[in-house]
């Protein structure tokens, strides 16, 4: 073989190698998986990670929203000020109260609703639709309707009055306003919880129930030892999502605070998110607000981690 022919053969081999590398890249399921995830990852990085990074940087600055170019680096001062502010702790407490009341209740109600619409009953499609509607309805619209229902002297407040609650306008009373927000959250979230649980219930193998029946297991025992363990990952998902959404509750509070200070009445519905909004957006102190957001992120992360630990241990 002449030198020229050898070189041509090598070039062909190289080209072939290059082609096969390209082919290999797309033949690998892993690569295709990454490629399909890439659009989401890029958008996520652009719309979520980058803003969060900016917030993190701003949290170390004395920055006025109206003049961001004049922002000054002030180290941890924003964090120190937040941690010295009793209003922040009050906001954290309110957020925790909403989560601790609303998340277990909506999880339980959602599960019961899912079990109900999973039965062979007439009109279960209608039930499913009706239960799910609040989740897809505007939060402001629902809040407005509930505000009309929970006014002093309505049949709703009079009904609750039978159980020792005051016949007052709930969202205007510092003792009831937070509970009103929690009720709104439960009402809206149950539909979503029901749908997720329903998908889980339909995945439970029927033969397990049949085996249970043969062994003489009661309905309750079947539910306790078959359904609940099978739904554990779903429960973790629901509790995590509801916890995060519970912490993020805002629209309902903004609606009941219209024409007044956010977190009205008297700061009784002020949460971590409204605290951030008030300082970062309303008072235009975006550095301070960003520090609140970073702390908020840490709080949610810790709580989600603890939830996972707890569920893992229980399982």
């Amino acid at each position: 073989m002449s030198n020229g022919t050898k070189a041509a053969a090598e070039l062909r081999r190289d080209n072939k190698g290059g082609q096969s590398l390209f082919r290999k890249m797309f033949d690998s399921d892993m690569s295709v998986g990454w490629l399909f995830s890439l659009p989401f990852l890029i958008l996520w990085a652009w719309w979520f990670f980058y803003p969060f990074l900016q917030s993190f940087i701003r949290s170390f600055q004395d920055a006025n929203f109206a003049a961001l170019d004049e922002a000054k680096f002030i180290g941890f001062q924003n964090y120190v000020r937040i941690l010295q502010d009793p209003e922040f702790y009050r906001a954290v407490l309110h957020s925790l109260e909403i989560v601790l009341i609303a998340v277990p209740v909506q999880t339980l109600i959602g599960l019961l609703m899912a079990i109900l619409v999973n039965q062979k009953i007439k009109g279960k499609g209608i039930f499913r639709t009706v239960f799910f509607i609040p989740y897809i309805t505007s939060q402001i619209a629902i809040t407005t309707v509930f505000m009309m229902l929970f006014k002093q002297g309505t049949f709703v407040t009079e009904f609750f009055g039978l159980f020792g609650f005051g016949n007052v306008t709930w969202f205007a009373d510092t003792n009831y306003a937070l509970m009103f927000v929690a009720i709104l959250f439960i009402f809206q979230q149950c539909g979503f919880t029901m749908i997720v649980y329903l998908s889980g219930l339909q995945e439970v193998p029927k033969d397990l129930y049949e085996a249970g029946q043969i062994d003489g297991a009661s309905k309750w025992a079947q539910f306790r030892y078959i359904t609940v363990p099978f739904l554990k990952p779903i429960t973790f998902f629901i509790v995590s999502v509801a916890t995060i959404l519970g912490f993020q509750i805002f629209d309902q509070i903004a609606a009941i605070s219209r024409y007044g200070a956010l977190g009205s009445p008297a700061g009784a519905t002020n949460t971590v998110v409204t605290y951030f909004y008030q300082h970062g957006i309303r008072y235009m102190n975006i550095g301070y607000g960003s520090a609140a957001v970073v702390l908020f992120f840490l709080i949610i992360m810790i709580i989600t981690y603890l939830q996972k630990k707890l569920l893992d241990e229980k399982g």
């Binding site: 082919r23 797309f26 033949d27 295709v32 490629l35 399909f36 890439l38 659009p39 890029i42 652009w46 006025n64 929203f65 109206a66 003049a67 961001l68 505000m147 009309m148 929970f150 006014k151 002093q152 007052v168 306008t169 969202f171 205007a172 009373d173 510092t174 003792n175 219209r258 024409y259 007044g260 200070a261 956010l262 977190g263 009205s264 009445p265 008297a266 700061g267 009784a268 008030q278 957006i281 309303r282 008072y283 235009m284």
Partner: protein
Amino acid sequence: MKNTMKTAASLLLIVCLVFALAACGSKNNANDEGQADGGKGKKTTVTMGFWGTAQDLKIYQEAANTISKTYPNITLKIKQYPSSDQFWNTLPGEIAAGVAPDFIKISNEGSYEYISKGMFAPLDDLIGPAGVDMNRFQSSANDIWKIDGKQYGIPNSVSPAMFFINEDMWKKAGLGAYPTTWDEVQAAAKTLTTKDVKGIVINIDPYHITNYVKSYGGGWDNGKTINSPENVKGLQKIFDMYKDGSAVTPKSLGYGWDGEVFANGKAAMTTGGYWYKGFLKDAAPNMKYVVLPVPKGTTENSDMIADGYVVLKDAKDKQAAVQAAYHMTNETTQTEFMKIGNGSPLVSLSPKYFELNPEFKAVEPALKTATDFAYPAESKKFKDQLVNELESTLLGGGNKTPQEILDSVQQQFK
């Protein structure tokens, strides 16, 4: 075949992504076209932002359509925002995107905060070259927009706070002459209170609270006199009326603001302003009401509510923005605004205000006594603090006295 499909799908995804990102990142070049180079014969587009009613929008649109007669090189666009909150929340993003309005209509209640934060351009160096004659406006109206000797706004309207009484309820209760002092109001409120109606609605809102403290000779003096004895007296009067059961807040009844309570016949009296005219026309067209100056505590003083046009510091062509704002104060536009209740700051038109709005005639003397709000520079924070403290006592069963409340607020604004 399978591999070819995979490769094609992957490449298609990449192409889509590139297009999507390119679309996200592209500048709105269309916006740059026709932009200002004021005075060089090229058309300049100026955008005005405001929040208000559909009636306001109609008047502004008509004014925008006629601007070319006065300023042939300016095209004026009107941008309406649902509320002031909505405007201030979206503004930073709009500035960053280069689509913020060039000038806005803003109320004097809270403008001090934005001026002190440097959001608006001082107009002193622009007024002369733009050909604006500030002598057309009443000097008191100009002064509202003057901070530290610099002019920040062109006045659009000026009007004192008012006191509204439901005439039918008043007559039905057999009450005689209308009240001139808060003591008389309190006595009447007790008489007017029934099972379904309260004598007076007091909105726990800084606008209304300020009327009370001013009528006792108080005021906020930009945060220096928050806990003054006069302010304590003003607050005490509010507390007294709540205590004796003749007053109610809109929120307690499930309403958003005082006007709704008054229009629905749930309260016989309220403090308010010129906007009640338009609101009551729609909400309670058959209601007969009387408009009086804000009653006296120890002195005649109340809020002076004013609107003005301010130019944003990032406006592309500030001079054109000033000219467009000035155009909004032409007599035709001002007359239209007067018809819906706004008081005109124009020297030439202000005497006609009470001819066009005879129901407001009684408040004419208040034009001389009413004063600006003078909230602290951190106005929103101050307003939130004040409202929270008051709500905590009046709606939450707290037991702080007016003195303790104002001391607590003063502490934050030393």
